[in-house]
């Protein structure tokens, strides 16, 4: 672990029921300003890993450190105060609350002045949301909902932003828009850990990537190199990337 590691996960074992670990000894780290991608087939334990890091899934062994502080086993609502923001895959906004209320609620741990400033900053970053602040989040389209979920997470100016399959169910055009937004967010100094099924699009914006399989580390490396590795591509990244990998290596 280097001094600049924002997130350091060491030998993490976690799962929903005691004796049934889904994550079985995973170690990853994310450095200041990086976008790190977490890949792997369905059931590899990616979602469980990020949910355990966020304090939502019981940890049986190993440790999680956020900016040097041990947050292993700290309940989710306390971890937020340490600067961790998590966007779950589904049901990631409060549909009965307005856009403004969603942001205000997320910003409740900030002082009032910072909360107001951050809310305006989010409307600047996501002009679509700023135009309809009083609209119930349940009436937003899929893409706008994901944008609100990301804005909600960014309200606390997190040290680490974790997103679980943020592109799931979005059209290719919207996926592109979401990823472009993540690059923009990173430029402002954020550190991002991204779980993705959509490997090709994710590797294009990521710095490094980890491939998980059966709850364990399988591969890791620079995003570009991993995307072009024909073995990794064929096994874990699906047809498109595999085809590209082969054509690069005739």
């Amino acid at each position: 672990m280097t001094a600049s590691a924002i997130l350091a996960v060491d030998g993490l074992v976690a799962g929903y029921e005691p004796g049934v670990p889904i994550v079985r000894g995973v170690s990853i780290d994310v450095k200041q300003g990086e976008i790190v991608i977490l890949l792997g087939p369905n059931g590899a334990g990616k979602s469980t890993l990020v949910r355990a890091i966020a304090g939502l899934v019981p940890v049986f062994a190993g440790s999680v450190r956020l900016a040097g502080h041990d947050i292993t086993g700290v309940p989710a609502h306390r971890i937020v105060h340490q600067g961790m923001a998590f966007v779950p895959q589904t049901e990631n906004v409060f549909t009965a609350l307005t856009i403004e209320e969603n942001l205000q609620l997320a910003g409740h741990i900030l002082p009032a002045s910072a909360r107001a400033r951050q809310t305006e900053a989010m409307y600047g970053l996501f002009p679509d949301l700023g135009r309809q602040r009083r609209l119930a989040a349940g009436r937003l389209s899929g893409g706008q909902r994901q944008m609100l979920a990301i804005a909600r997470a960014l309200m606390i100016q997190p040290k680490l932003l974790m997103l679980d399959e943020v592109s799931a169910g979005l059209s290719p055009k919207l996926v592109e828009a979401v990823f472009a937004k993540l690059v923009e967010i990173r430029r402002s100094g954020a550190t991002i850990l991204l779980v993705e099924q959509n490997a090709r699009a994710a590797l294009a914006v990521g710095d490094r990537a980890y491939v998980l399989a059966e709850g364990q580390n399988r591969h890791e490396g620079a995003a570009m190199a991993l995307g072009n590795d024909p073995v990794v591509a064929r096994l874990y990244l699906g047809g498109m990337a595999a085809a590209r990998g082969r054509s690069a290596n005739p």
């Binding site: 989710a76 609502h77 937020v80 779950p88 409060f94 209320e101 609620l105 409740h108 349940g138 909600r152």
Partner: protein, 301 residues
């Protein structure tokens, strides 16, 4: 034909609505139908009665205020009793529901609340007997307010207090962080934790508020009708009808539902017969569940 049933229905409906707010909040946040809510209403009334007697004994010349049948000892006792009933609800959660919540399902919670309801009610009968009692034996003269309708000052006072409490609750839920947090937990407890809300604290607040409002409804019921150990339990069906009619989780819905149930009941008494009073709330409840299970303002069934 007399229009008196409108006034009676409105007064009864306001109290039903007030009681239904607590029910709808606990239902939407704790996700089970809490049968003890009726008994919290009765306990609120008896706690107020006991405290008012104590205050009256210590500080004499309580008398009554203006045209009302009660004096400031009842008002002061009511306020303290609201806090105590809230604490009683909290104690119930600590002793019973919190333990079951960790591993039980909703149906276990419902049955447990049914048992707790029985115990709370029997305890009241043991302590105070099942004889009806009153805050004051003073007979109030109903004033004519036109169209052949008469109301007592106490009834008007109950309506006013209900309006005040309902507005305060609505502001709390829509304007304060506590209220937003309660609505957030009601919709999605997991996401609430992710945004940093202490769900256990929100549940405690819900019990406190629900208990306090139940007590307020009990005091008003005691002022305008009578105080008996079954007063709250007998109101349970209209309470559920009001909460479900208004849409689970909605405060304005619970109040509107209460008014509709109250007016329908008193219209039923007027036009069909007093024997059918209880059937009317039941009929309304069935109709809502069949036609619009999410209620008037509800977001989910």
């Amino acid at each position: 034909m007399t229009l008196q049933f409108l006034a009676d229905g409105l007064v009864m409906g306001a109290m039903t609505g007030l009681g239904a707010i607590g029910l709808t909040l606990t239902y939407s946040i704790l996700r089970f139908a809490n049968f003890t809510h009726g008994d919290l209403i009765s306990w609120g009334a008896y706690l107020t009665l006991t405290l008012a007697l104590l205050i009256g004994a210590v500080v004499p010349n309580g008398g009554s205020i203006g045209p009302f049948s009660f004096g400031w000892p009842v008002l002061a006792a009511g306020l303290i009793a609201m806090a105590l009933t809230g604490l009683l609800a909290l104690a119930l959660d600590f002793l019973l529901f919190a333990r079951l919540r960790r591993r039980g399902t909703a149906i276990i919670m419902v049955i447990a609340s049914f048992g707790a309801s029985l115990a709370l009610r029997s305890l009241l009968e043991f302590l105070f007997t099942s004889e009806p009692t009153y805050f004051s034996r003073e007979i109030q003269i109903a004033m004519p307010i036109g169209a052949g309708i008469h109301v007592t000052p106490d009834q008007l006072c109950s309506l006013g207090l209900t309006a005040l409490l309902v507005s305060a609750m609505h502001l709390l839920l829509t304007r304060s962080h506590t209220g937003r947090a309660m609505r957030a937990v009601s919709e999605n407890p997991a996401l609430a934790r992710i945004v940093g809300i202490d769900v256990a604290a929100v549940i405690r607040t819900t019990w406190l508020l629900g208990g306090a409002l139940a007590c307020a409804a009990g005091v008003m019921l005691g002022l305008t009708v009578q105080i008996r150990p079954y007063m709250g339990f007998d109101l349970l069906l209209p309470l559920f009808a009001a909460a479900i009619l208004g849409g689970i989780g909605s405060v304005p819905g619970a109040v509107l539902g209460g008014l509709i149930v109250g007016l329908a009941e008193s219209a039923g008494v007027q036009f069909i017969g007093a024997n059918y009073r209880a059937a009317i709330a039941f009929l309304l409840l069935l109709l809502v569940l069949l036609i619009k299970p999410t209620g008037l303002f509800g977001v989910r069934a």
